[in-house]
């Protein structure tokens, strides 16, 4: 498999605090890779560095060989990166359909064309029946799916999903896992996800990258990573518990 996204030696400091230091990993075309780690490990910062929200102090990000670092977030999106926000950011006063339409307009300038595409994406995320509702009125699980739909509507080459399972009930998690897996299988969509819910990580990802205190401490297949003593020591012991909390006994 060819490499789609390359994160090369990325570092970011906030007022002397190293949030991310020398992190490197890559995401092969068509793969689902998970980025995990305890709170404050630098996962969301890494996402923001990839998405162009802020510039790194060192290192760079490439998409299919093209340098993304230095681009604005909208240019990163244009280059083919779709992202969601951990704290969902729906366009609250717009309808669900218009939320996704805005994303679709990025590559489809004609309204009618973009609207057709938006409706398709909404069907995919099982939000079809909700499309005329105002986004503000959606439940949290629905808003999470709306985030995914809006990012997907921009027709990215890679989707960055920031904790889209957080706050979902186990059945909802399984449903979303299935949707994402279908998406990956049917369209070959590459996905990089930050996730706390281990159930989803184990079910979805082909590779897992583990961060702790801004440093990459482990990488490999899910089963390998779970068995890595370093990972167990810093993270998995507690995270597994909290991640599985939602699924009950």
């Amino acid at each position: 498999m060819t490499t789609l996204l390359e994160v090369d030696n990325l570092s970011k400091q906030f007022r002397g605090l190293r949030a991310v230091s020398n992190v490197s990993f890559s995401v092969p075309e068509g793969a689902i890779v998970a980025l995990i780690g305890p709170n404050g490990a630098g996962k969301t910062t890494t996402f923001n560095l990839i998405a162009g929200v802020m510039p790194p102090n060192e290192g760079e990000v490439r998409l299919a060989g093209r340098r993304l670092t230095g681009l604005r977030p909208d240019q990163v999106c244009a280059a083919g990166v779709g992202r969601t926000f951990q704290l969902v950011k729906p366009f609250g006063d717009l309808s669900v359909e218009d939320n996704v339409l805005v994303g679709a307009l990025h590559r489809r300038p004609r309204i009618a064309d973009a609207r057709r595409h938006a409706v398709q994406v909404l069907e995919l995320l099982e939000l079809g029946p909700k499309r005329h509702q105002i986004a503000r009125g959606l439940t949290l699980p629905e808003r999470k799916r709306l985030e995914v739909a809006r990012a997907l509507a921009t027709e990215p080459r890679i989707l960055l999903l920031d904790e889209v399972m957080a706050g979902l009930r186990p059945t909802e998690t399984d449903r979303l896992v299935e949707v994402l897996r279908d998406l990956n299988r049917d369209t070959g969509m590459t996905i990089l996800l930050i996730e706390h819910v281990m159930r989803a990580v184990m079910a979805l990802s082909s590779r897992v990258v583990v961060l702790d205190h801004g440093v990459r401490i482990s990488e490999g297949a899910p089963a390998e990573v779970v068995a890595d003593p370093k990972v167990i020591e810093v993270y998995l012991g507690s995270a597994l518990e909290s991640g599985e909390e939602g699924s009950g006994p």
Binding site: A51, V53, R72, P73, D74, C77, A78, G82, R83, F85, K89, P90, F91, G92, D93, L94, S95, E97, D98, L101, V102, G103, L105, H106, P109, I111, H132, Q133, I134, R150, A151, A153, T154
Partner: protein
């Protein structure tokens, strides 16, 4: 154009049609006073519509829109007085000046990430700065005022915009309907959806590929250009311009009353707001006067109370509420073609 009013119910369309017909007929039955009052109402509706593009659609609060009114007014008046060039040519210079000013303010504000209230203060600062500058431009009359030769009030010379109240009335009516149609088009265009997205959440808008800086700049420039047309009308209607009046913060605030009361971000809000506000203010003034009282600021007090009441009790404006209760627009769930982003 077929989609121009598609969110209106049949009843809404009839109401709008009757309203438009009534407006067209006004000069045939109204006296001079009533025509001048409705002209003023339409002027506020028009300029409010222009302001709404920036605040209601793109979410950028401007409290310095008097700047664009003033630039349009002075540019066209200067061409007319000094070079004999009529307003229909002067309009272009006015729009150019205002668009340029909007571009400068927008570029500075948005490049340096000045947001919210700070951006509003920046717009005030530019308007005030310009006001004081115009006070000292002798060529344009300075603080003593700039006067256009008064035309023949009985005739009608549409080319120089000189003539009877009815002529001015139809010009501002055409501008108002033109602005409504333009805003409807804008709101359903790509840039319109981009504006709404930015208004709702700038970060999320950027994440879906919207060049936020460019989109906001376009909003300011369109709003400024539209507003400057209102300035051209103002100059030829009143025939006198004083920097202290036309560029003042008070004027900027007057401009936002109609859309705020009617409904920020709605298409009919500015028109509706202007039509309820001005007559009510006239009524209050009349009431106070007939009670034998002399209260020079009573109209402004009424406006101030109206602003407070609206943001406290009905922040989305009066129009959406009225339209909902009189069933003039489709409700969410009414019919599948309804789209929530269209605030009629």
């Amino acid at each position: 154009m077929t989609t121009l009013f598609d969110q209106l119910t049949a009843r809404g369309r009839v109401a709008l049609g009757l309203f438009a017909l009534a407006l067209l007929a006004v000069p045939f039955f109204a006296d001079g006073y009533l025509i001048s009052v409705i002209t003023l109402v339409l002027w506020f509706a028009y300029v409010g519509q222009a302001w709404n593009v920036m605040m209601g659609f793109a979410g950028q609060l401007s409290l310095g829109h008097s700047l664009y009114v003033g630039l349009g007014a002075y540019a066209s008046a200067a061409l007319f007085v000094h070079f004999g060039v009529g307003p229909w040519a002067g309009v272009w210079l006015g729009m150019l000046a205002a668009t340029l000013a909007g571009a400068i303010i927008g570029t500075l504000g948005f490049r340096f990430a000045i947001r919210g209230v700070h951006f509003a203060l920046l717009t005030i600062a530019f308007a005030e700065f310009t006001r004081i500058a115009f006070d000292h431009i002798g060529w344009l009359g300075g603080s003593g005022g700039f006067f256009l030769p008064v035309g023949d009030a009985a005739g009608a010379n549409p080319f120089d915009l000189r003539g009877s109240p009815a002529l001015f009335y139809y010009v501002i009516l055409a501008l108002t309907f033109g602005a409504l149609a333009l805003c409807r088009r804008l709101l359903h265009s790509r840039i319109g959806y981009f504006w709404l997205a930015i208004r709702e959440d700038q970060e999320a808008a950027q994440a879906v590929g919207i060049d936020v800086f460019r989109a906001k700049l376009i909003a300011v420039m369109i709003s400024a250009a539209m507003t400057s047309l209102g300035g051209v009308f103002y100059a030829f209607f009143y025939n006198n311009l004083f920097p202290e009046q036309i560029f003042s913060v008070g004027r900027s605030i007057e401009l936002i009353l109609a859309p705020v009361i009617g409904g920020i971000g709605t298409l009919f809000g500015p028109i509706f707001g202007a039509f309820i506000l001005t007559p009510l203010a006239e009524l209050v003034t009349w009431g106070v006067e007939s009670a034998g009282l002399d209260m020079p600021g009573i109209k402004q007090i009424f406006y101030g109370l109206a602003l407070v009441a609206i943001v406290v009790y009905r922040p989305e404006g009066v129009w959406p509420w009225v339209a909902r209760h009189l069933r003039l627009v489709h409700q969410p769930g009414d019919q599948p073609s309804h789209r929530a982003g269209d605030r009629p």
